[in-house]
Symmetry: C2
Subunit: 122 residues, 2 copies
DNA sequence: TATCTTTGCTTACCAAAAGTTAGTTAATAA
DNA sequence: TTATTAACTAACTTTTGGTAAGCAAAGATA
């Protein structure tokens, strides 16, 4: 890092860190990606039932933006009632290990972090 | 993954993915961590000047929560005007590589992602 | 024939969270 | 008298996400 990269910190538009976090810092994106990685192909309602706390609205917003970014693929069958399947794209696949490493770190450190948090307020 | 881990998706409190994203999905945390990794020790105003777009309020909120989680260390000198120094803790250090790998991925794929986004709307 | 069911959404409305801006503080040195 | 530093506060705006309702079209049910 240093030198060149530092310039980015000031500039929101071109900052690589902002680019990551603006994209994956939302409430559901990473969850959907990891779930699709785990399950392969899923329909809308399967996702909805598995991630119990997501609303229909937010699920469809999340899926749409993941599709727009080319991270997942959407396949719609011309049937009624409708059938739509979602799966990871190659690009999405390539992202998974990085998310997983972050999640692994969190799993390992969360107990200590929670302790720190608790003692901080006192 | 599979089996056991899947249960977490439904349950916000214990979901490891939510734990990560609730913590680092905010606008400034990762930026501050990477900057401190790069610079070692920084005072409040140095951070503020380097990350030009952050407001004083959000910078202090961010620093406080990073400190509460034990990811950074704060050293205050009993002077006026005040002098406060921030640096990464060991725990914070251990997180850095994971963030960097995510940022590296983003740098590599952002051009394509932006193309996808642009063509999606049409 | 009428209405209910199914799926994958969309829309309008609302509350809460996050972020912005401007103003305040306190001791000292210039 | 003014600038300095690292905050904090209040008032305000923006963003995010949730709720509840509705829709479309075909097939099943009564």
């Amino acid at each position: 890092m240093s030198e060149k990269s530092l310039n980015f910190f000031g500039d929101a538009e071109n900052c690589p860190v902002r680019n990551v976090m603006d994209r994956f810092g939302d409430k559901w994106s990473t969850l959907v990606l990891l779930l699709l990685e785990d399950q392969g192909v899923m329909r809308f309602n399967e996702l909805h039932k598995t991630i119990k706390s997501v609303s229909q609205k937010m699920l469809s917003v999340t899926l749409k933006s993941l599709e727009a970014d080319g991270l997942i693929l959407r396949k719609q069958y011309p049937e009624i009632p409708p059938r739509v399947e979602y799966r990871l794209s190659e690009r999405g696949q390539s992202l998974i290990p990085h998310i997983q490493s972050l999640v692994a770190w969190a799993n390992q450190h969360m107990p200590e972090i929670k302790k720190s948090r608790a003692s901080y307020s006192s």
